[in-house]
């Protein structure tokens, strides 16, 4: 199965991609982030695989819900999941 990953606003510019479709099979967000962290810019802005931590200011939503309110990095991704990464997210 595949899921869509969206890199919003400035992050999309920085990473050089705004949307990716990746194949997953009952994988957690952590697994996806580790794969994506093979890109240096992703490591720098989004996820530190050594510390297993999101960078400051990063917000991840799964189908519109913040992963802090789900199982955080252990949230399991299912078919048609829409995973959105914000850096930063604020008002205005």
């Amino acid at each position: 199965m595949s899921i869509k990953i969206n890199a919003m606003s400035e992050l999309g510019h920085y990473l050089g991609w705004k949307q990716k479709e990746v194949s997953v099979e009952n994988q957690t967000i952590r697994t996806i982030l580790i794969d994506l962290a093979s890109q240096e810019q992703f490591q720098e802005k989004v996820y530190d695989p050594v510390e297993d931590a999101l960078r400051a200011g990063v917000v991840i939503l799964v189908n519109g819900r913040n992963i802090l309110q789900l199982e955080y990095l252990d949230t399991i991704l299912s078919e048609n999941t829409d995973l959105t990464i914000y850096y930063p997210l604020g008002g205005g």
């Binding site: 969206n6 919003m8 606003s9 400035e10 999309g12 510019h13 200011g57 917000v59 939503l61 189908n63 519109g64 819900r65 913040n66 992963i67 802090l68 309110q69 829409d82 959105t84 914000y86 930063p88 997210l89 604020g90 008002g91 205005g92």
Partner: protein, 629 residues
């Protein structure tokens, strides 16, 4: 005492009498500036129950201790009065050059009393104050952009800071604002209508005095550090694509107001997004005085029917006259914002009033005879035309909607209050709170009405502190809201831009250090937090005195009854009973009774009892002002 000038100009417009007064260190320590000083003067000097458009209302312009220094984003000023839109405390804050010029001219505060016998503008040339008649030159003849240009040209000085009204202010449209530096507005709660009611077209400031701070070496070092941080990651959003990036971000959350808040997703969101704007429309970025960020993204329309339209397009206007009116025609959106800025109506209220009118039109509550043409969602040309009708008061519908959505719904009846998207009479900003339920309370209890700037409670929802779809943990949510509300009361009193709130790593404690470095007044973070709470409590007392009730702390009816029909927040609505639980928890945590009235202990705690009488605070509903034709 440094930082502050300590000088107040009290101008009786009826007689032309000008008094130069001093403010004490104690007054500055207690009320800080901006919002704090504004509410204290309005409380003391506006008679209870007065008509906000009568000469009895006062109009206060003020600054805090920081304009003219190197502190980032500190060239701000505030305008305060009883609001003719809400009938409660009115406040609006703007940036640009006016704050710095006012400080250099030597004025901490200007209090306008009564009404001038003929239209005037007031020039503050350092210590010299001139009240100049302008019925032959400006009033009824020039919009705010032209007024600013005329005054600068007349005095041969491009640096003069000018805060002025256009036609909408002159004819007292209830959502009228003040414009300065073309793109900056003291937008909300109808302060432009109060200025118009006093026959004042503009205040202009030219200052050439230096600004002294108490501890220059320490402050210089600190200021440079803060400037550096403010050019870093914490403000990248505002510098890069600007606040219109919210369009797609909020779309992903399902909270982008669409067609008068009927939906939280807009099928043409990309066309009004920051991304599309940057690719296609933005020609220049600009910054206010003393600001290293530069959040103004200027759009210029090069061809087509709106050729020549130019405006600074931010998120709040992208949503209000864009998605919220079902419109993705960027040239029409740009022209609409330009009209709002020139004629001086608040861009948020304008868009939400137009969307209210569109829904009323589609429901046959507002008739084609009253409007004069079809006013339907998605019609950019009709939206532009209707904005102008509101500004100029030139049709029956324009006059009705110019009362604001609450006043218009009250006039039109037929259940239109159900979809008047306002709280306390002030139109809601660009967040569908059905999908962010901490913000639902935060926006509803906001002291000036539907507002995202008195507490940024949406942050707790979208950053994941709470489940944005539930209404659980009321005590935890209200504590977060109240702490932020007190901190924001300080930010609005210093006055600094909220876009730099993130540059202070230690929050209010660090701001206290800066305050002491500039003013020489020793304060701690806890001292300031107490003053933030005191300022908020006094504003609440003012609203109660003017007839506000618990009902004013509830959301628009639609939020309780109309679940979102689609998108990531599909099915979300506000459960009224759970909302009341949270509201009661908020009142309790604030030290207010079940009607939202501060207790005697609370008044004592914040030092308010010496001038606030508890007996005056129990809501007197008949005192509540309602805008009417």
């Amino acid at each position: 005492m440094k930082g502050y000038t300590g000088k107040v100009a009290r101008i009786n417009l009826a007689t032309g009498d000008i008094k130069r007064e001093e403010i004490s260190e104690e007054f500055c320590r207690n009320w800080i500036g901006g919002y704090g000083m504004g509410i204290k003067v309005v409380w003391d000097e506006v008679p209870a129950g007065c008509d906000p458009l009568s000469p009895d209302n006062v109009l206060v312009f003020n600054i805090g201790p920081f304009p003219g220094t190197i502190l980032p984003t500190s060239s701000k000023y505030g305008v305060f009065a009883k609001s003719p839109l809400t009938g409660l405390f009115g406040m609006a804050i703007s940036s640009g050059s006016v704050g710095a010029q006012m400080r250099r001219a030597g004025w901490n505060m200007v209090i306008l009393e009564k009404k001038a016998p003929e239209p005037v503008y007031i020039m503050f040339d350092n210590d010299d104050i001139q009240i100049q008649p302008c019925s032959e030159t400006l009033w009824g003849k020039k919009d705010s952009w032209e007024t600013e240009e005329w005054i600068r040209h007349h005095y041969h000085d491009e640096r003069i800071g000018v805060s002025s009204i256009g036609k909408a202010g002159e004819i007292m449209v209830r959502i009228a604002c003040l414009t300065n530096d073309r793109n900056r507005q003291a937008g909300r709660t109808g302060m432009g209508a109060v200025m118009g009611s006093k026959n004042v077209k503009a205040l202009a400031f030219r200052g050439t005095n230096s600004v002294e701070v108490a501890h220059p070496k320490e402050f210089y070092k600190k200021g440079k550090e803060l400037i550096k941080i403010s050019m870093g990651p914490v403000t990248i959003k505002y510098r890069d694509l600007g606040t219109p990036v919210n369009v797609l971000e909020f779309q992903k959350l399902g909270i982008l107001p669409t067609r008068n808040f009927q939906s939280g997703v807009f099928e043409h969101a990309f066309d009004v997004s920051g991304e599309k704007m940057a690719e296609t429309w933005v020609v220049k970025k600009a910054a206010c005085s003393q600001c290293p960020i530069g959040c103004d993204h200027l759009v210029y329309i090069k061809d087509g029917p709106y050729k020549g339209a130019v405006a600074s397009v931010d998120y709040e206007c992208s949503f209000s006259v864009g998605s919220n009116c079902g419109i993705w025609d960027m040239p029409a959106i740009t022209r609409a914002i330009e009209l709002c800025d020139r004629h001086t109506i608040d861009g948020i209220s304008a868009g939400v009033c137009v969307s209210f009118a569109m829904e009323a039109f589609e429901n046959n509550v507002l008739t084609p005879e009253q409007v004069g043409y079809d006013l339907k969602f998605g019609d950019g040309d009709a939206m532009v035309r209707f904005i102008e009708d509101i500004c100029l008061g030139r049709t029956e519908a324009g006059k009705i909607i110019g009362l604001g959505s609450r006043g218009a719904a009250n006039y039109l009846g037929q259940n239109s209050m159900h979809y008047a998207m306002q709280v306390k009479g002030l139109e809601m900003p660009g967040y569908v709170v059905r999908g962010i339920k901490t913000a639902a309370l935060g926006f509803a209890v906001a002291i000036r009405g539907g507002c995202h700037l008195r507490n940024g409670a949406y942050q707790f929802d979208i950053k994941g502190d709470f489940d944005r779809f539930t209404q659980d943990k009321p005590e935890e949510r209200v504590k977060k809201i109240i702490n932020m509300e007190n901190d924001y009361a300080l930010i609005d009193s210093y006055i600094i831009c909220k876009f730099t709130r993130g540059i202070y790593k230690n929050g209010v404690d660090e701001q206290a250090e800066v305050y002491s470095m500039v003013t020489g007044i020793d304060v701690t973070g806890d001292d300031l937090r107490t003053r933030g709470a005191a300022i908020h409590n006094l504003a609440k007392c003012y609203n109660l005195r003017e007839g506000a009730t618990k009902a004013d702390d509830y959301l628009p009816e639609r939020d309780y009854t109309d679940p979102l029909p689609e998108g990531p927040s599909e099915g979300q609505y506000i459960d009224r009973d759970l909302y009341t639980v949270m509201l009661d928890a908020y009142y309790s945590e604030r030290g207010w009774d079940s009607d939202g009235v501060p207790t005697q202990e609370t008044l004592d705690k914040y030092g308010l009892s010496s001038f606030v009488n508890l007996d005056d605070l129990h809501p007197i509903e008949e005192r509540r002002y309602m805008p009417c034709l």
